[in-house]
Symmetry: D3
Subunit: 167 residues, 6 copies
């Protein structure tokens, strides 16, 4: 049985991430979507909130588990017995960072393999950062994130809108 | 009549930005150079200062207006009746960010078009960040920004030089 | 009245090109889609065939004309009184070639402006080269090119299939 | 049981390709290294020679098969019952071409997944093209290709050296 | 006699930096490895610590000096009589930033030349940032930095491990 | 005394190449501009013509020699006792090819160093290919190549213009 992990900050999860989850779930027996608690400095959502949202949206996939971890990704992979790290590639700058991370991880844990999937064209422009910004200014999120995430984002920014008296 | 906006942080405006202003002013009936107040976290210049500097340097162009805005660029474009967003491209990393922003904006406002001009070769290395750093250390700004901007930068950093007793 | 040209080899036209045509037709009074006869060494389709296919697919746009030309693009732009050259950007390698071409053209004809649109995400992977290869091996073209182009491609490769007794 | 194919021109196979073979053989039950007969116009080695060299160098891997095919990669994948296409990524330009190919293949065969591995740092500069050029001029191939490939290259270029009276 | 400077933040020095030092030391009569005090906002190591580590690792090279400086690199180069600035290139994103910096420096000091060396393939994935992160989580540093740097990193993060009671 | 070679196809030499020649001539005692006879398949100019043009334009530099060579660049460097290969970088795609070439050359000849200079911004869009195309269609070459090269290009293409009755 092959276990793979799909690590990320997922702050929040977008349809682009879900595309990767669906495709990786088809390739491996067991897929762990793993919220990296320390990947970003000041996340918008707590690790618990990010895990909650992911759990809501991966229910259609039987072999997908959601978890959170601290520390090096390769150490987490070893702890969970995962032989594969899955990552999505969207753009050139992704490519470069991922390339360096993959080679560093190979040095630290030669038995763990990093594998890449290209994000579907329709999702290639989606980023959690853009989603946060659009939500902050009350823009439409319907094509970018699942309904539960849109709701959490609205809730997160409600106080601001209420206070400012805007839409 | 076609109205276009040229949004940016302009912190401060450089000769590279002015190159784009001049060329876009030739293509459209009305061009709004729009200072995005929230594009950068801690700008060197206030939005009012950035608008002031832009107003000084766009006086040669009859159909160019300077403004500031908060919120999503596409919302501002709609409010101003602009069908076109103009952006300058200098380098590969610009390309990628701009590509994602343009596709996201297209999703949010399909009727607004983003259009790119390539910055002139002689200006391709100019960035507001480099200008701020050179000004901070008292380097020569003559080839990078208009005189009024150089003066504002010197004024902004004067206290530092005075306090530190340096050149 | 602003006239723009959209030059290319269009060997053959894809839905990616049509996306640019539609958007540029909205921005300018008159758009000339211009088949560059000498842009590729050994095209699959003759210039006349490429013009024919383009004419079929641009009929919905009232202000779009199809033409063919030989020689430098800027010379053609001048002859036609076009102040704008429109180009689509899909990928990083496009960016670089286009950047060099735009700066060279600016040197040769300072009064002609090159303007870029980003190809829609859904079309970002489409290339005439891939279309030709897929057609050659009898693959499905429905999502990549308009029906008239698919028909022309099938016709072009029919002899091969007949001779080889395949598909 | 998961079958994967690793298609390429392998003209000739390098240590960079072998790195990918070894790692993909660890991830999947059955790996088919598939020589694409039509991927390059005028290959240095015939498809039969390329298959021969590959067969020599993959003997250590029990679950690896070598084959050759003509036509679209996705059609070959379907014929062989492969759910996965494996590709190696070395550099940015690889990234772009591979990205377009992967998205095109996804359109043609949604049930086949393309998966990428990053070539090990030590092999990141190796290309079949460079190998051919170095062999042509009699340069040292020991760090770039397995001995059997070096021998085949020497043999291929022997007539030239003999005729020219060089090295 | 040609003097060159190799400026950087070196927070901390990696084997990738040492590769550049060794090669530049072979090309020039006198090489100054120069810690730029203001290049990063909140360095992990003080400038004094970074100079100390560099001094330990450059002892094999007779013509290499270690120094620290504040202000513009070109001003420092002029003060030290250096005609050459040496920089290492690892990846595309390096390329872009370096390109802009080199052109800006050329504008500020036309008589100073910036020269680039490509980091050896085996070191191409090493970055000070990755080193800091791996050290923070107690990962293995043996292939990435010299022993003295690994020791300094362990010392820097010891309190954290002690306090948290982790490995 | 340090000898450097600046290899290339120079088909023909442009102001961009001359920028690199001038700067490299300042850095090294002896610079050999070396026409690589086999770098391109069907050059526009013979190696002798390319050497002739280069000799005309490097006369201002006392320490610059022009030569031609066949075979691997590192073998030529060794024959000439050159410790340094100089190359110009203009664009991202240059970067990648150059990176691979430099690492391959390092493998073949560890004692030869490849060093890069960034082409001046004003020349960053110049390529021999664009120059040949512009010359072919009778476009203006004054800003791109020295007068002797423009004259050679006009002569090369004269028959075409005469025959076609154009320009």
């Amino acid at each position: 049985m092959t276990t793979a992990i799909y690590p990320g900050s997922f702050d929040p999860v977008t349809y682009g991430h879900l595309d990767i989850v669906e495709r990786a779930a088809n390739l491996f027996d067991h897929l762990i979507v793993a919220v990296a608690e320390n990947m970003v400095k000041r996340p918008l959502f707590t690790a618990a909130e990010r895990v909650y949202m992911l759990k809501q949206v991966v229910t259609p996939y039987r072999n997908v588990e959601v978890d959170a971890f601290e520390g090096l990704t390769v150490d987490y992979a070893r702890r969970r017995g995962a032989r594969v790290i899955v990552r999505g590639l969207r753009a050139i700058s992704d490519f470069e960072n991922e390339f360096m991370m993959a080679l560093t991880n190979k040095k630290l844990a030669p038995e763990v393999e990093t594998m890449f999937l290209m994000t579907r064209a329709e999702c290639s422009f989606m980023s959690s950062r853009a989603v946060r910004e659009i939500a902050y200014f009350g823009g439409c999120l319907a094509d970018l994130v699942p309904p539960v995430v849109a709701e959490m984002l609205r809730h997160k920014f409600r106080q601001r809108w209420t206070a400012a008296g805007e839409g």
